[in-house]
Symmetry: C2
Subunit: 152 residues, 2 copies
């Protein structure tokens, strides 16, 4: 934790934009979560299904999956256990590494993703792409790439 002696407070415009960001993110999350609830999923579970569906054999090591969905190992373990009871994924020992665990998408998980995806993409469009000016959408992408490229 590094703080300067004199805090670099936000000016009025920066403060307003920062609050707009918090409000916009909350609104997008609310809308996507509401849509996914119709399929018994939350946003974290949906992302896990997407990443597994794109992986060879629809399976990933838990440690790789955690990186891709930006969840801590402990949170991911909890989410995947919940998804396992719903029959969406299964866990198995990693053949090449005795300490490793692999998460594998079930057919039921794949079918649910195929069922939910059209409604999900429609809610992403309605919540973000439709209301936002195309140039601002591109700028949003640049801004978020700059955020992600900051070293911890």
């Amino acid at each position: 934790m590094t703080t300067t002696l004199q805090p670099r407070w936000l000016d009025a415009d920066q403060q307003r934009i920062w609050r707009s960001f918090l409000n916009g993110v909350a609104k997008i999350n609310e809308r996507l979560e509401a849509e996914l609830r119709c399929f018994g999923l939350d946003l974290g579970e949906y992302e896990i299904l997407v990443h597994l569906s794109e992986a060879p054999d629809r399976s990933l090591r838990m440690s790789d999956l955690a990186d891709r969905v930006r969840q801590s190992r402990s949170r991911l373990t909890h989410t995947v256990a919940r998804m396992e009871t719903k029959g969406l994924v299964a866990r198995m020992a990693c053949p090449s590494d005795r300490r490793g665990v692999i998460a594998l998408m079930t057919n039921h998980g794949y079918e649910l993703l195929v069922e939910a995806a059209p409604a999900h993409v429609e809610s992403v469009r309605r919540a973000l792409l439709d209301p936002v000016d195309p140039d601002d959408f591109v700028a949003l992408g640049r801004a978020m790439d700059a955020v992600t490229s900051v070293q911890d």
Copy 2:
């Protein structure tokens, strides 16, 4: 839930920007949460303290507070109960409405906010304002205002 017959799938650029958005938001949240943990707070609790500190008598009806911090009533009740056990807020009956409940910031809550604010604003700057081009930051604000103005 309205879906078109033919899903309006995202094209490759839209998909990439959408994922950048998810990654950037996750990164910002991680950094702000890590900073606030040093003060025993999470982002939801911090926002509650900010809104109470700006209200007359440092108090708000729970229903107004829920709107301002974009939390459901049930989630807010849970968060405020946790903050009450930490001595940061207190709840009391609303004098003008027997069914209403008011959340009130304690002196301890105010002092903790004053203590945490410089580090928090510094982490907002380092996570978002410093890495992002100023024009893109303004565009981000416009984009998020457009998102928030969509009617449910």
